[in-house]
């Protein structure tokens, strides 16, 4: 005769699967919040991309020998130092949300946060 009751092993398996499911859901939620990618482009070409969640520093070689130092820390990105004369990119501060960008015109460097979330706007008039 078939035993239709749950065995102890079934219960453990279900508990493990449920726990795994909850953990995965939690991970997915957390990752989607901090899951942005810092995309670096020079003169329109993607030269590097880094996860926003990992702290790092990187030297970016811009056009005409220009250099910008990118710092990613605590889920935000900024240009800490740059060889360009106006250093507007350094003054642009930190970016952390999808769609935000820092642009260095002289070195033709664009740092942009790409993410899965839809950006707030299609363009910004400034």
């Amino acid at each position: 005769m078939k035993d239709r009751r749950l065995r102890r092993a079934d219960l453990i398996l279900i508990a493990i699967l449920l726990a795994a499911g909850v953990l995965m859901s939690l991970g997915a939620v957390l990752l989607s919040r901090d899951g942005g990618t810092v995309v670096v482009r020079v003169d329109g070409e993607v030269v590097a991309s880094y996860p926003l969640s990992e702290d790092r520093e990187a030297e970016i070689a811009g056009v005409n020998g220009g250099v910008n130092r990118l710092v990613i820390r605590d889920g935000s990105a900024r240009i800490e130092e740059a060889s360009c004369p106006d250093r507007l990119c350094v003054g642009m501060g930190v970016i952390r949300r999808a769609g935000q960008s820092i642009i260095c015109l002289p070195n033709r460097v664009v740092i942009e946060i790409a993410g899965s979330g839809a950006p707030e706007t299609d363009a910004v008039s400034e």
Binding site: R4, L6, D10, I14, L17, L18, G21, M24, S25, A28, R41, D43, G44, P85, D86, G91, M92, G93, I95, R97, G99, Q100, S101, I103, L105, R108, V110, E120, T121, D122, A123, V124, S125, E126
Partner: protein
């Protein structure tokens, strides 16, 4: 009980796997990024011929840049300034005509002859020079579009007068791109030429484009004063934050929007002016002109021609004025006053 748990697990797995699927690539836009006209541009286009349209758009921008750049000695504008005038090509003629019309309309608040003043202040080079009254008077003596005469396609400049179409060229270029996109069968596109935004149609899903308006007081360009929903129009903003030079000794900052009547940076209590008009070149010229005019004159100017354009004025104290034509399309976390006819 067991069946119920199995079903619950299945639902959970389904939920998890659904979270992993990415957006469909079918309706993805074609995007082009380029550096031209001394600024950073992004062009976004939807549709079958989007890539071809973007190739043509990039070529068109590079062509106009080569024609109009005051920084390049080989450009048509540099030649006109060197020779005191000459024959105009089709685009330069259209731009000069639009610029002269804007000069007349705005009572001289928009003026393409401020180049000697800009050079005096050091804006093209980036090396600030705060001019003396005497130096200003000398530069003002050769300023004024009244010193230009256009006969057919021949432009004459009086001695010492120089033109710079930079205050209208990006708006003209964005309008040209819309025509170009249409000729490629593109129905949905949005471009930003250094923050000068123009869009074609609405978004592919039929909803309106969401155009952020930069908060002029914020240090960071991505802070917004509000969002305007638009279709088939240009949204062009002028503000002192775009280009500023600081005196290292006094710490005083000087911005690039010069009042053609005084030769000094316009100081009218405005922090930025956004013009909304289907005519990109007009929007570009009026954003500068209304900034120079100041809030009261700009309001009066709009009341004389409310069907031509709409505007958002952001004052130095942070208050905002929005003309009634776009008031319903503008949203902001701050309150704003609606300007009515």
């Amino acid at each position: 009980m067991r069946r119920f748990l199995c079903a619950a697990l299945a639902v959970l797995l389904l939920f998890l796997s659904a979270g992993c699927s990415g957006p469909s690539a079918k309706d993805a836009p074609a995007v082009r990024e380029l550096f031209a006209m001394d600024t950073y541009m992004t062009l976004t286009c939807y549709g079958e011929n989007a890539e071809e349209a973007l190739d043509a758009a990039e070529a068109e921008i590079r062509r106009l840049d080569a024609l109009l750049s005051t920084g390049s000695p080989d450009s048509e504008v540099s030649r006109l300034n060197r020779d005191g005038g000459g024959e105009l090509s089709e685009d330069t003629l259209a731009l000069v005509k639009a610029a002269l019309a804007a000069y007349e309309d705005t009572g001289g608040a928009f003026d393409i002859t401020v180049l000697p003043l800009m050079e005096l202040w050091g804006f093209p080079s980036g090396a600030l020079h705060v001019p003396s009254d005497e130096e200003l008077a000398q530069a003002l003596a050769v300023t004024g579009s009244g010193r230009l005469s256009l006969g057919g396609n021949i432009l004459s400049l009086e001695p010492g007068t120089e033109i710079d179409l930079g205050g209208i060229a990006k708006g003209y270029a964005s309008a040209r791109l819309m025509d170009l996109f249409r000729s490629f069968g593109v129905e949905h596109a949005i471009v930003s030429l250094g923050g000068n935004v123009q869009c074609l149609g609405a978004k592919p899903d039929g909803s309106l484009w969401r155009c952020g308006i930069r908060d002029p007081e914020a240090e960071k360009a991505d802070e917004l004063a509000g969002i305007l929903t638009v279709r088939d129009t240009a949204v062009i903003t002028s503000g002192p934050y775009e280009r500023k030079l600081t005196d290292p000794d006094t710490g005083q900052a000087y911005h690039h929007i010069l009042d053609p009547s005084t030769g000094r940076p316009a100081d009218t209590g405005l922090a930025s002016v956004t013009i909304v008009s289907a005519d990109g070149a007009l929007a570009d010229a009026l954003s500068t002109a209304c900034f120079v005019m100041g809030p009261e004159k700009a309001e009066a100017f709009w009341r004389e021609r409310p069907e031509t354009f709409d505007m958002i004025l952001i004052l130095a104290d942070g208050s905002m004025l929005v003309t009634e034509g776009i008031a319903g399309a503008f949203s902001s976390s701050r309150s704003f006053t609606v300007i009515r006819e």
